[in-house]
């Protein structure tokens, strides 16, 4: 059980406080309700570029990292298609340094041309390092626009292409900040060996005078139900083939999400999963296979991905995967198999809540989904899933007309 307190400032900032007496560190986690899905199709990669700019100095403080490091702290951030999240970890006695820095960049950035210019290059190098210069690095750049035709999930957080980042202007940067970076669009989570009154006083002190702005109403085009099988084959300079299958499923928190997550576990999580046992161990058709869910807020995907063994055809693998899927739809999963999966979910959950930083991030994300207490009720939601529910959703999700397939073929080199 993760205990927490919640309060809201007059300017709309939602604050979660978690007391943890076991740690000498304090965490300040700031979640902004903005991700790559909020970008314009003409300016993709912006939310992530913006995350970089948040370290380029704020209105009153020229350098973000220096003072935090001087206080013995460290920080980082990440951007997804749904959110942007910043965290600082400091010795608890220096908590105020983190609040000072974080509140100032919520108030306003310095917006220097130099910072924009340099971070554009840094992000372009990141684009190359993580997506273009790695074997299979562009898999999601290819798969997303195939699977999503309307929803902004059709581009990756890094952006559709390098040009979008190259062309970003200061005017757009300022607009983005004004729209998305303000108290009403943020969730602040503070954790450590602290007292609620002291946390309230400090948060009021540093955040209380940040002007409130109106929260932009999100009105994204939702992806219509997929009605046809989509497949695409691309050739790349990679050592071996990779086959990927994506099935549309519920977003996190929506009806059917937990069932879909458990279906992916039954199919392809770990060495006792069905795909692994059948395709790898028994038939030796693949050298590796797994299944997982994306965990996105809007319509997500249940993914199956495999490396075929040498000499095996796509047809052989297709046949076996669909046969296995058919079994999931026609026969109930045994109670013992479901119990096994739930046990793994429980272990994973317990380990994922270790440490004050993980708890803070999870609390903020749960609050964004509607209630910080979801962190405590999530396991229960998994436990409520029945074998009948699994069958019903397997029938719904694992349909060929709901599937997007991407085949990456190794280019044959003439040697």
């Amino acid at each position: 059980m993760v205990e927490f307190e919640r309060f809201v400032l007059d300017n709309g900032l939602r604050v979660i406080f978690h007391k943890d007496v076991t740690t000498p560190m304090a965490v300040v986690n700031t979640l902004y309700d903005v991700g790559a899905r909020d970008e314009s199709p003409e300016r993709t990669g912006f939310a992530h570029l913006f995350e970089h700019l948040m370290f380029g100095g704020s209105i009153n403080i020229p350098n973000f990292d220096g003072p935090l490091q001087e206080a013995g702290g460290s920080n980082n951030a990440f951007t997804s298609n749904d959110i942007t999240n910043y965290y600082d970890v400091v010795p608890v006695q220096n908590l105020e340094t983190a609040l000072w820095l974080e509140s100032d960049r919520m108030l306003s950035l310095a917006f220097t041309e130099k910072s924009l210019e340099v971070q554009r290059s840094v992000v372009i190098e990141e684009f190359k390092q993580r997506y273009l210069n790695q074997p299979y690095g562009d898999l999601w750049l290819e798969l997303r626009p195939l699977a999503y035709q309307v929803h902004p999930y059709r581009w990756a957080t890094i952006g559709k292409n390098i040009e979008h980042i190259q062309e970003a202007t200061m005017e757009e940067v300022k607009d983005f900040f004004n729209t998305h970076y303000h108290p009403g669009n943020a969730i602040l989570c503070i954790a450590g060996n602290l007292e609620l009154d002291e946390v309230k006083r400090l948060v009021e002190k540093w955040y209380g005078d940040i002007p409130s702005k109106e929260k932009k109403v999100r009105n994204l085009p939702q992806e219509p139900k997929q009605t046809e099988f989509r497949t695409k084959t691309i050739e790349r300079d990679v050592p071996s083939d990779v086959y990927t299958y994506g099935f549309k499923m519920a977003g996190k928190g929506q009806e059917g999400y937990y069932e879909a997550d458990l279906i992916s576990d039954v199919l392809g999580r770990g060495k006792s999963s069905r795909l692994y046992k059948r395709l790898k161990k028994e038939l030796e058709l693949v050298t590796d296979i797994n299944a997982y869910v994306m965990g996105s807020t809007d319509t997500g995907m249940l993914m199956i991905s495999c490396h075929p063994s040498d000499g095996v055809t796509l047809e052989q693998i297709d046949t076996e995967i669909w046969k296995l899927i058919d079994e999931m739809q026609s026969t109930l999963v045994e109670e013992a198999e479901l119990e096994k999966i739930i046990n793994k979910v429980k272990t994973t959950k317990a380990f994922s809540e270790q440490g004050v930083l993980n708890k803070s991030i999870a609390l903020a994300q749960s609050e964004l989904m509607g209630d910080a207490n979801l962190i405590n009720t999530e396991t229960e939601s998994y436990e409520k899933v029945t074998v009948e529910g699994i069958q019903k959703h397997a029938e719904e999700i694992l349909q060929k007309t709901n599937c997007t397939q991407l085949i990456i073929k190794a280019k044959k080199n003439d040697e």
């Binding site: 490091q69 013995g72 220096n94 190098e125 210069n133 790898k280 050298t287 063994s309």
Partner: protein
């Protein structure tokens, strides 16, 4: 209106409380370290064996480790995995150059049963040829993929050049996978697993009975003398470029053989390393990422081996920035050697380093890791008191002296791939 340009007061950390694990010695002379005061239901049990890749031909150690759960005369690999998964358990296999770590991970209620399954699998594994072959196919494929990356290419060339006179530089090659003999695996397993347990560590709120069960499991192994290592760490600095036409970035590794924490200059040199490339605000990051935008990231570090260590700088830069980056690295090193670091920068780095030690000691598992990281080198927790003291005492003059002593470009092997 509040003046936001003034930073809040901060206080410096002068002391960190370290908590030692309980140490007990089993009948087979194997030590078991346990941290039982934890706040949740998670438990991790690590078995450390003298089964690193230095102790045989590299690939044999790796394969033996990864095949430990591949089945015995009376249980198939599927049955073992089913059993562990059914208990909500996870296993870990990590084979490094010097040792192998096999972990049983799970919740308190199931951990004894999980560990039992793990130990039973390790002891009775029979290296079924079909399992060996499946693992070989999958590992070969993974390695082929990894070898495509310029970062892997540069790292491998760097290590094999720097340690050309010792087994640390003898890396696995793709064709090694075609020359596997089941007999070698069986032999290595007998010597280095059945007779090679070094110690056990337990983190989790086990009661006495549960801990005793783990101890009884550990007692099924024996502990032979560790294979002594005594290598030649001399090297000749080299310049190596590996060409990859279609690469968009060039990976760079620069460095030299240095020392580990047993050396008297190790702590103070860590401060020099941090200033140069050891944190986000380091000089290399500031110059090459934040000022010039050549890279997504650049860093430096000291990797520690049993008897020595090596210093390295590592980055991936846009192809067109390779020479400019090497120049900029040189410039930063020369600066450290010719100009004293300012008191402001030095004080920031000192506070940062000590803050990191505090963060890395947060929680029972972290505390165990800290303990192991000194114990491995024959040291104890007093090392960290010494660490904090020496970090706090280092002067700008000493930083400059150490940079002159250990960071000379002519001592560096320079590798680029791309």
């Amino acid at each position: 209106m509040m003046n936001r340009t003034i930073a809040p007061e901060t206080s410096t950390i002068t002391h960190i409380d370290f908590q030692s694990p309980e140490i007990d010695t089993l009948g087979n002379k194997v030590n078991i370290y346990s941290m039982l005061e934890t706040t949740d239901e998670t438990v991790r049990v690590d078995f450390i064996f003298d089964a690193g890749s230095l102790k045989t031909s590299k690939i044999i150690a790796q394969l033996t480790g990864e095949l430990l759960f591949s089945g015995s005369a009376d249980k198939s690999s599927d049955e073992i995995e089913d059993r562990i998964d059914g208990l909500g358990g996870f296993t870990g296999i990590e084979v490094s150059t010097e040792k192998s770590t096999i972990s049983a991970i799970g919740l308190k209620e199931h951990i004894v049963a999980i560990t039992q399954t793990v130990v039973d699998a390790i002891i009775n594994v029979n290296f079924n040829p079909k399992e060996i072959n499946q693992l070989l196919q999958s590992k070969k494929k993974k390695m082929a993929i990894s070898l495509e990356k310029v970062s892997t290419q540069a790292r491998r060339a760097f290590l094999s050049d720097l340690f050309s006179n010792s087994p640390y530089g003898d890396l696995t090659q793709l064709e090694d996978y075609d020359k596997i003999n089941q007999k070698d695996l069986i032999e290595f397993h007998k010597d280095k697993y059945l007779k090679g347990l070094q110690y056990i560590s337990v983190v989790g709120s086990l009661n006495e009975e549960e801990l005793n069960s783990i101890k009884a499991l550990g007692n099924q192994f024996s502990k032979d003398e560790v294979t002594k290592i005594d290598y030649d760490y001399s090297y000749t600095p080299n310049n190596i470029h590996l060409k990859k036409e279609q690469a968009l970035q060039t990976a760079i590794r620069v460095g030299r053989v240095l020392f580990n924490k047993q050396h008297e200059d190790f702590i103070k040199f860590s401060v020099v390393n941090t200033i140069l490339g050891g944190y986000f605000g380091s000089r290399l990051m500031t110059s090459i990422r934040e000022d010039k935008g050549y890279t997504y990231g650049i860093g430096s570090g000291v990797a520690q081996l049993k008897e020595t260590g090596y210093f390295f700088i590592s980055t991936e830069v846009g192809k067109e920035f390779k020479d400019l980056t090497l120049e900029a690295i040189k410039e930063e090193i020369t600066l450290l050697q010719t100009e004293e670091v300012s008191e402001t920068e030095l004080s920031l780095v000192k506070n940062y380093i000590i803050g990191q030690i505090l963060e890395q000691s947060d929680g029972a598992q972290a505390m165990m890791d800290r303990f192991i990281s000194v114990e491995t080198y024959g040291l104890d927790f007093s090392y960290y008191d010494k660490f904090i003291k020496e970090v706090n005492e280092i002067t700008p003059k000493e930083v400059k002296e150490l940079a002159n002593l250990y960071l000379n470009w002519e001592d560096f092997t320079v590798v680029s791939a791309g």
